[in-house]
């Protein structure tokens, strides 16, 4: 993949991950996922080794799949909202 292509791919993954994580019905899982995704991407922003970048892209894709499935499972058994969600 060309550099531009990789850049597009990474950005789109980042956006999809954040968008899907927003759908977690559990406050704690949602907040963790958002924090974790932002920190991971920020930490790996400066990677240049193509093999490492490919590895990280695969890892992100795998996790995107997990998030999509777990959002569904979480919604099936969702609970009442937490007290701090309701008061904000």
């Amino acid at each position: 993949m060309a550099t531009g292509e990789i850049r597009m791919k990474v950005l789109s993954l980042y956006k999809s991950l954040l968008r899907e994580s927003q759908k977690f019905s559990s406050y704690n899982f949602r907040m963790y996922a958002l924090r974790k995704i932002r920190d991971e991407f920020r930490e790996k922003k400066l990677l240049t080794d193509p093999a490492r970048i490919k590895e990280e892209i695969n890892f992100a894709e795998k996790n995107l799949g997990i998030i999509k499935r777990q959002v569904i499972v979480g919604n099936l058994y969702s609970t009442e909202k937490l007290i701090i969600e309701k008061n904000n």
Binding site: M31, I66, V73, E85
Partner: protein, 450 residues
């Protein structure tokens, strides 16, 4: 002391009722209540929503990534991992063996040294009773500490009934054992030493590497209950000279009902199994390995290994935030256990002149505990706090704040805020607090006997 408090409480509560008849009109006529009446009342506080969870030492939520790894084995891959004659068995066995590798990797062990159990309690029982009984012909002495988890202490009691002698080492006021005392306690009859890595109530870390080195030098087996430590602080069974180690699934965002026991192969540690049966897990723990749970603990270990530094940094951030807020707002708050040699996700505080259970009741919108979940049904003060020499009254006023991977900064802020508010409220109505404010030293008072 207590009876005075109770008296005062009941008086406060009854006063408005008993005198209500002639006062009632006064209240309603101007629409105001007497300030005393509502000052301490929290009955009208409407709590809308589920409580926050800050009890990570009791158990942790199942990480969605762990559940995702488990679900296939709870649905379509239902084979018995010990079935050797068909594909259903093979695919499940492969998953269990992968999980064994993941657990082993986290502690730098060999996968063959991992035995799956039902949890840390079973692991502790198996390690203590197993080793003690196997070597009982030659050695009949065990060393443990006073701050161990109930299941270790109870296993030791059971062994005492079988004729073993047990040394319960005291700990210093910071919760850590005295290495010199420990070394002195080892005799030629000692077969096993069992000391936990991280305490479940006060979060204190024991010097495991030092203890391991002494045990190795004296040729005594060393078992550590690492249920609260695994995946949270780095552990290497080889550099720390650990011979046996108990691991729990549900303290590391894995499923409940599964644990593991690490049993060293070289130099070999031999155990007498507790359960008889099909001889699974190298004959040490008969019974079908619950494949979905094993997969869960394996995945949880892999995630913990990958994210240990990240999670630890978050724990430090949260615990500092909590401590800063509470300590600056409230005087006379004591942190139980060593402040440096500790796992930051567990903060145990004593609020002087506040009764812990009352505070827990008031903080009903936050799931907290005054100590371990096993003993939370009784009102007895924690034996761990008594072991570190905490005064009876301070031991009664302790609260454990347990933070985890999924705890947010907002939750910590909310908890700190609520905690400060209620400690101030409870102190405000405490006669003891009033006396302290007046400069009376409570310890010097001769309370009359009732």
């Amino acid at each position: 002391m207590l009876s005075k408090c109770v008296l005062r409480f009941t008086r406060l509560r009854q006063l408005p009722q008993s005198t209500s008849n002639h006062l009632l009109r006064d209240y309603s006529s101007d629409g105001k209540h007497r300030p005393e009446r509502n000052k301490f009342n929290i009955r009208d506080e409407v709590l809308d929503g589920r409580p926050l969870y800050l009890d990570a030492q009791a158990t942790t939520p199942l990480d969605p990534r762990v559940l995702d790894a488990m679900l296939p084995y709870l649905t379509n891959y239902y084979g018995n991992p010990h079935s050797r004659t068909h594909a259903y068995g093979w695919e499940t066995e492969e998953a269990v063996e992968k999980a064994r590798k993941q657990v082993a990797s986290l502690i730098s062990a060999d996968p063959r040294e991992i035995v799956f159990t039902s949890g840390a309690t079973e692991s502790n029982n198996l390690a203590l009773k197993g080793v003690a009984r196997f070597y009982s012909m030659k050695k009949k002495h065990i060393i443990t500490t006073q701050t161990e988890h109930k299941c270790v202490l109870d296993s030791c009691r059971a062994l005492e009934g079988e004729g073993f002698s047990v040394t319960y080492l005291p700990v210093q006021s910071n919760g850590i054992i005295d290495i010199k005392e420990f070394e002195k306690a080892i005799t030629e009859h000692t077969s096993l030493v069992s000391i936990m890595t991280v305490n479940n109530e006060i979060g204190v870390k024991q010097p495991i590497a030092d203890i391991g080195a002494i045990c190795r030098a004296k040729k005594v087996f060393f078992h550590t209950d690492a249920a609260q430590a695994i995946g949270k602080i780095p552990i290497n069974v080889n550099t720390m000279n650990i011979d046996l180690m108990s691991i729990s699934g549900h303290k590391i965002y894995g499923p409940k009902g599964v644990g593991a026991l690490y049993v060293r192969r070289r130099p070999r540690v031999r155990l007498e199994p507790i359960q008889s049966g099909g001889g699974q897990e190298r004959g040490l723990r008969s019974g079908t390995v619950p494949a979905p749970l094993a997969v869960g603990i394996g995945e949880a270990c892999e995630i913990a290994q990958r994210e240990m530094a990240y999670d630890h940094k978050w724990m430090e951030f949260l615990s500092n935030r909590l401590l800063d807020k509470i300590m600056t707002a409230l005087p006379q708050v004591i942190r139980n256990g060593d402040a440096n040699q500790t796992y930051p996700g567990c903060v145990n505080l004593s609020f002087a002149y506040v009764e812990g259970e009352s505070l827990l009741m008031a903080l009903k919108d936050v799931a907290l505990s005054s100590g371990s979940a096993c003993t939370s049904a009784s009102l007895e003060p924690s034996y761990v706090l008594r072991a570190i020499g905490t005064d009876e009254d301070l031991a009664h006023s302790s609260i454990r704040f347990g933070m985890g991977r999924f705890t947010t900064a907002e939750e910590v802020d909310y908890t700190a805020e609520k905690c400060i508010k209620h400690v101030e409220r409870l102190r405000e109505m405490s006669p003891l607090w009033e006396m302290i404010q007046e400069g009376i030293d409570i310890k010097t008072i001769q309370w009359s006997q009732h």
